[in-house]
């Protein structure tokens, strides 16, 4: 059996991208690199659907989150962090690490924050510099309605920032139109690269806040990146091989087209959900994202044993994190996967469930999925 990664990142990387990255390294202070980086930056703007700059950092997604915090806020600002999962909690922790008075909006894991909830907290707390949200919360599989939040926040001075590390390219996100000031992402999700690059898009109006920001920073200082990107350069040595791979990945993504990508992920998620439900299992999130399907582990089934059995059968899922450990499995739909891989994940899930002693009708999941895929 081939091992297929169904984790919601890191994901499988297309072979042609892997081989492109294996080409000999070239130097980055050259017209060759600048031509490449100009091309990449143009393609990133298309993927992020923005006229603003999209900056590429040598870091994981968390580094890009920290970049958002230390550039958009100033000393004395308050912040709002929506906590409905592990990555929402990370926003809170980063803000607190910089001495920011941070108001947490705690939403039940599995549900999405609403624009109204955020509006209430904004109204009660003058002086909020930014609201930090998670578009697709990878720890729970929940999708947040960024359009509604962006529209609500048009009447407020606070900036709107979203972690779209996993959500980018899976769900529509129009930062310019919707009023999302910063969108954060990473290379190891829908962009189908190895981990090692963080991304952050910045709306033109966010620059007023960035320019006056006085939180301490050096490597994360977006003013440095802005000065460099205008010359198609990076302020610090870029991970050249990953940038070469990025160009190839973006070609695949834009070749498929964003609307087709959203539709494909929607279909893969719908087929997986139909398959899982045909086995009598429940879905965890009330507001599901198409990045991944989060399945509740049935009563009487040992979650750890199920994950182990899945891996043995060539299907590599993610388990639950923190309070969800042992209670869910997460089946990702991102990366170098196609519709037929959904059938592989469900076939493997059936084999694994049988091994851990769960009762179901053999083939029910793939049949249900096929009805969606063929639709």
């Amino acid at each position: 059996m081939k091992t297929r990664l169904f984790t919601p990142g890191p994901v499988m990387v297309p072979e042609k991208v892997l081989l492109k990255m294996a080409e000999p390294i070239f130097h980055h202070r050259t017209p060759q690199y600048e031509g490449l980086f100009a091309e990449v930056n143009g393609k990133l703007k298309k993927l992020f659907m923005t006229e603003g700059d999209v900056f590429t950092l040598a870091s994981s997604g968390t580094g890009a989150m920290e970049t958002a915090v230390v550039n958009i806020l100033s000393r004395g600002d308050k912040a709002i962090a929506v906590r409905g999962g592990k990555f929402g909690e990370r926003w809170y922790e980063i803000c607190v690490a910089y001495g920011i008075e941070t108001i947490a909006i705690d939403v039940e894991w599995g549900t999405a924050v609403t624009a109204e909830q955020i509006k209430k907290v904004l109204d009660e707390n003058p002086g909020v510099g930014a609201v930090f949200t998670t578009m697709s919360e990878t720890s729970t599989g929940v999708l947040t309605d960024m359009k509604a939040i962006g529209e609500m926040m048009k009447d407020y001075d606070a900036a709107l920032v979203t972690d779209a590390v996993s959500g980018l390219g899976v769900h529509e996100l129009c930062p310019d139109e919707w009023g999302v000031d910063m969108v954060v992402s990473g290379s190891q999700k829908t962009i189908m690269l190895p981990p090692g690059l963080g991304f952050i898009s910045v709306s033109p109006s966010a620059w007023d806040k960035i320019k006056k920001s006085d939180l301490p920073k050096y490597y994360w200082d977006l003013k440095k990146y802005k000065k460099s990107i205008d010359k198609n350069q990076n302020p610090f040595t870029p991970p050249v091989s990953l940038i070469v791979g990025l160009n190839a990945s973006l070609d695949i993504i834009l070749g498929e087209g964003l609307e087709n990508m959203w539709a494909r992920h929607a279909k893969m998620a719908a087929a997986t959900r139909a398959g899982v439900e045909a086995l009598g299992m429940g879905l965890f999130p009330k507001d599901p994202s198409n990045v991944l399907t989060t399945v509740c582990i049935p009563d009487g089934v040992d979650g750890g044993a199920l994950v182990k059995a899945l891996k043995k059968n060539g299907v590599f899922p993610a388990g639950g994190q923190a309070q969800l450990k042992g209670k869910i499995i997460r089946i990702g739909h991102i990366g170098h996967l196609d519709e037929y891989d959904v059938l592989a994940s469900l076939s493997g899930l059936e084999r694994a469930l049988a091994e851990v002693g769960y009762s179901f009708t053999t083939g029910a999941s793939v049949q249900a999925a096929q009805a969606v895929l063929a639709g």
Copy 2:
């Protein structure tokens, strides 16, 4: 002509390392990754010659420098930054960005700071938390005597930090024995990988300062990395493909042996210097490092034209930065280069010099180099 990178980083990567990194990605929260990372960490300790931990960051070398600053210092500490080139200046800038009262020791570009100079400033300034130095200053080609500085500083409470981004593996550096508390490096130099990884070694005694450090940080927080490394993990998603490559590169490095590496770099540098001098050209640094040979551009020769002619002839050097722009060329000896490549660099240099109208005896440089290489 093949293009050979003689820049002092990024460097050429061995083909077998490039191909290793092109293998399918695997997930990092697995025994497979933990086994690999345990192996890598053991090998890094050998390369860094320390019993302390060596932490791997997803960042460029500058990120690892910032990590040193924000972990070793606390609010109210003073810092000393030695400025004898572009990378020494970077230490100063990072410290200042965090509001640290920073005393610069300005040494003439091309010369190395002495232990006595640092001692004088330490004696005049109580409350210094750390001294930031550059072992091999890539912008000038100068080597600093870290052993002498470390021994002098044994009587002081201040920590000693060095940027060995390019110097690591080229010159002997025994942090435990010499009293160097933090050694910073990057993947794209002697480690022969693409850019994208930063490294920082930490001496056991530095942890007292790190634990009480109150400078704001999240991604750079070494306490998080320490907690993770003890489980052979990273706190944030690691660049898996680069870690796979790192393991392969470290095998090559440790297979050659550190003493053999130092000797090879010494020989390559000596042969290059002999070749350059045989052409009647001068060397810039008074205290030269074996990372690179920094050559003064002769009177009447256009520096920009010489660099261009070198590249046309397949020899890719670095020019001068900042105040040295147009005044020097820098020929690196690091990366996937061997002794015969020295002959290629000098042969190309002769061709380029002829093209820009400089007079010399054809073959003089390769003959002089050969005398060293054959010695």
